[in-house]
Amino acid sequence: MISIVGYGSYVPKNRIKTSEIAKIWGKDPQNVERGLGVYEKSVPSLDEDTITIATAATKYALKRAGIDPEEIGAIYVGSESHPYVVKPSGTVVAAAIGCEGELKCADYEFACKAGTAAIQNVMGLIEGEYIKYGLAIGADTSQGAPGDALEYAASAGGAAFILSKKNKDSIATIEETLSYTTDTPDFWRREYQHYPQHGGRFTGEPAYFKHVGTATKMMMDRMSLNPDDLDYIVFHMPNAKFPVNMAKKLGFSTEQVTQGLVVSKIGNTYSGSSLLGLTAVLDVAKPGDKILMSSYGSGAGSDSFYITVDDAIEKKRDMCPKTWDMIDNKRYIDYATYTIYRKKILMR
């Protein structure tokens, strides 16, 4: 069995309100807020990117894990906004935490599910006894084109997980994971393009709902689970509507979803999205609680995880800032500042 022995989250401090963006583009703010269920989103500072976010989350994960960084045998960073197209984010994270040397490392990209893909690969390396500890990170500083519907939600944040074989320091154990993958072009970004494109309503039924729904149902069947066997449900959160509707369709209650539903306050953190939801759940879960998490990556696929919370959560969760506390620690910026922070204006 593979367990989480350390987890950490990071959300940048800046927020822009949905209403501020809507106002700029002449939309009715309340309409947009209601339509998406997103009221504000996180914006990275000028000195933040996927690498710094990944590093910040990792430092918290290391603190909770209480291990020597040099014991980490693999680092995989999942993101669709790696600062370099060529030059791995993971190498910088490795140097920043002090685990360069014998280390397996690569960057992953699978739209918003690259972070959960990283977890699955680390699990395999541990199971195969190639490494003792592995670090999987999902982090993004995603961009939506100005005026595009994506702009209301595309945000920044990330989460990091240190995994090992189940032991007395386990925070939560991953009982099972599986994936469902097809070729479904609902959202993409071509090389050299600054902003992604998407298929509008095509991103819904045939994309998000089909993949997340199928993967989740496969997991429920495989593990013989009923909706009320689970304490917490975390789905990828492109907005607040999709995961809530998904949960309803699958027979889950709103209560099972609420704790992990960080999207309404920080937007869609892409590769960080479902993982930040998981950290928010771990921040409050009790030993023995059952969690089901299904990520979604456009293109398309969903990774589903069935997780049981372990005893060490009690002594480890308070070692670092909790996700919802980080979400509440914020400063608002206006649209003009946002355009500078996100390099949306042509400068000299």
Binding site: S45, D47, E48, K59, A95, A96, I97
Partner: protein, 131 residues
């Protein structure tokens, strides 16, 4: 900035590795090859410095060189590290009015500068006000 010039300082800039003179029981940052007190090199070791400290002095920069211009106004501080030396660093994610001598700060890992749109990104330490 040339790449190797930046690359060779990575451990110090990313992780606050300083020097410690075992003879004088003193820490230094940036690292030194010779202890400025006893003028010897034999007893100098690398040491991981604490990532916490307090503001010893500060200023808010309003006029900056081109590579930092977009960040103005930004704060620079001399920080007395816990059990360690004074270090110069930028303060980030803070309201300028909240910066005061004596305030507690902690290290974060951030982008310091970029060599244009296409060049290398320089990362390193900055500090934030500790909540």
């Amino acid at each position: 900035m040339s790449v190797p010039r930046f690359w060779r300082e990575i451990p110090y800039r990313y992780r606050l590795i300083g020097s410690y003179c075992e003879k004088c029981n003193e820490t230094f940052f940036p690292p030194r090859e010779i202890c400025p007190r006893c003028r010897r090199s034999g007893d100098i070791k690398d040491i991981k410095l604490e990532e916490e400290g307090e503001i010893f002095s500060y200023t808010v920069i309003r006029t900056a060189p081109p590579e930092f211009d977009v960040q103005t106004p930004y704060a620079i501080a001399l920080i007395k590290l816990k059990n360690g030396p004074l270090i110069m660093s930028q303060l980030t994610d803070c309201e300028m009015d909240d910066v005061k001598i004596g305030k507690k700060v902690r290290m974060v890992f951030r982008k310091i500068s970029e060599d244009g749109e296409a060049g290398i990104i320089n990362y390193g330490y900055k500090f934030v006000l500790a909540e």
